[in-house]
């Protein structure tokens, strides 16, 4: 009741925004996973873009401006484009509506349900911290941390990207020698 009151009273804009973005994120995510209207992967991909954009909204609320930008750039800009590209390339048809096996569905729901319940239980155990969050996601600070404290992982990730590059080339080379 109180929460609704708070929301309605608009005492805190960020709170309202949180709910807006959160609902948007989750809704879009649901539509990625299980769109009742379309089983087309393109639809899923488009909703994934929406999920990611609304999530970067949440990032903004958390003052992680750089990451919000990266999120949109990398995910919406690169990853999803890649997905769409591949979907188009492969000319994928809609996922056929095969008979859903009731047992499989139930078992899947039950196991995810267990995970959810454990998650929620754990969540309930969290003590909300009283202190006002103060961190500002300054790009400068982030960069400094990345290039001093986390140089080594950074370099390793560069090797990883190299490997990924080689891999992609090897896997998609047309000619099989």
């Amino acid at each position: 009741m109180e929460a609704i009151n708070n929301l309605l009273s608009g005492s805190n804009v960020t709170d309202v925004l949180f709910y807006v973005f959160a609902v948007l994120t989750l809704l879009c995510a649901v539509l990625v996973v299980a769109n009742p209207f379309s089983r087309n992967p393109v639809t899923s991909a488009m909703f994934l873009v929406l999920t990611i954009i609304s999530m970067s909204g949440l990032f903004l609320l958390l003052h992680a401006f750089f990451l919000a930008a990266v999120q949109i750039l990398v995910y919406a800009g690169a990853v999803i484009v890649l997905f769409i590209f591949v979907i188009m390339l492969l000319d994928l048809k809609e996922e056929q509506r095969r008979k859903i096996k009731f047992f499989g569905l139930a078992a899947g729901l039950v196991s995810v349900g267990i995970v959810v319940s454990i998650f929620l239980k754990s969540l309930a155990s969290i003590q909300p911290n009283v202190a006002e969050p103060a961190l500002e996601g300054e790009t400068y600070a982030l960069g400094k941390l990345l290039f001093t404290h986390y140089t080594l992982p950074f370099e390793i990730v560069s090797v990883l990207l190299l490997v990924a590059m080689i891999g992609v080339i090897l896997l998609s080379k047309k000619k099989l020698e």
Binding site: V32, A45, A64, L67, V79, F119, L145
Partner: protein, 101 residues
């Protein structure tokens, strides 16, 4: 009630579980892969939220790495799926059962 870490974490966890559902319910490899991205993003959200509420930037650095690695994985993964599609003309999990038992 003020929006605290638990709110963000709840969103993150629900997102994570949605991704999980996608992985185990969908049959299209690409959609499965997208669901995996959802799960990674859930982790990202949790990290950013923790970063904000713990007042430490390390979480955001980790997010940076996760995004990078995810991008690399996506690249390799999609290439692999494409290669497979070329062989099999299918991106459905039911068609990938030549090895079993």
């Amino acid at each position: 009630m003020h929006i605290g870490i638990q709110h963000y974490l709840a969103v993150s966890m629900i997102l994570f579980c949605l991704g999980l559902l996608g992985v185990i319910m969908r049959r299209n490899l690409l959609v499965i892969y997208m669901s995996l991205e959802l799960m990674l993003n859930a982790a990202n959200l949790a990290l950013v939220a923790f970063s904000r509420f713990n007042n430490k930037l390390d979480g955001q650095v980790l997010v940076f790495f996760i995004i990078t690695v995810a991008a690399a994985e996506v690249a390799v993964g999609l290439a692999l799926i494409v290669a497979l599609y070329r062989k099999r003309q299918s991106a459905h999990v039911e068609d990938l059962t030549s090895m079993k038992l």
